[in-house]
Symmetry: C2
């Protein structure tokens, strides 16, 4: 398996329409065929000192292996997502993990 | 669903035995009955500017809802994990997300 997690911080100027658009684009992104299981989310209401809840949206995409993740990265639908949405975020933080 | 993700950075002085012990404790942690799906991992070899691969271990625990996550937090086996392992890490970063 391969766990690909991304946290997005949108520009402070993002409008409600921008957010709706971004949510739709994230949902569409999650349908790329190489993804085994997709979680598209927003921060939970949990608050502890170790929790970063400052992000706006997160994706956790589970791939069967790194092979599928490597096919996902250059996928036209992934590139289209970046082209259409990159102007909306101010920060992106990615963590890739291989379960053992 | 509820996605609970934690990244652990161990002390630079952590030994191979410390790492083996920590890996075993993470695996044991992942068997807590409230967890729906557990991914216990290490950084993937992917390297891009947006990727933080500096952590030592990660867990991504999927819960059916926040209710199960709230039961997991005070679970004796979770508390035992923290008691036995907290001296090993120098930083813990948690992200909690609710999929939509």
């Amino acid at each position: 398996m391969f766990v690909h997690t991304v946290y997005f911080w949108l520009h402070y100027s993002a409008t409600a329409a921008d957010r709706t658009f971004f949510e739709q684009q994230l949902q569409q992104l999650s349908t790329i065929e190489y993804i085994h299981t997709a979680y598209v989310g927003v921060p939970a209401p949990t608050r502890r000192e170790v929790i970063d809840s400052s992000y706006d949206y997160s994706i956790t995409f589970i791939f069967k292996s790194q092979v599928e993740q490597d096919l996902y990265q250059p996928h036209p639908a992934h590139k289209a997502f970046v082209d259409k949405c990159a102007h909306l975020w101010r920060r992106v933080q990615v963590y890739d993990a291989i379960p053992f």
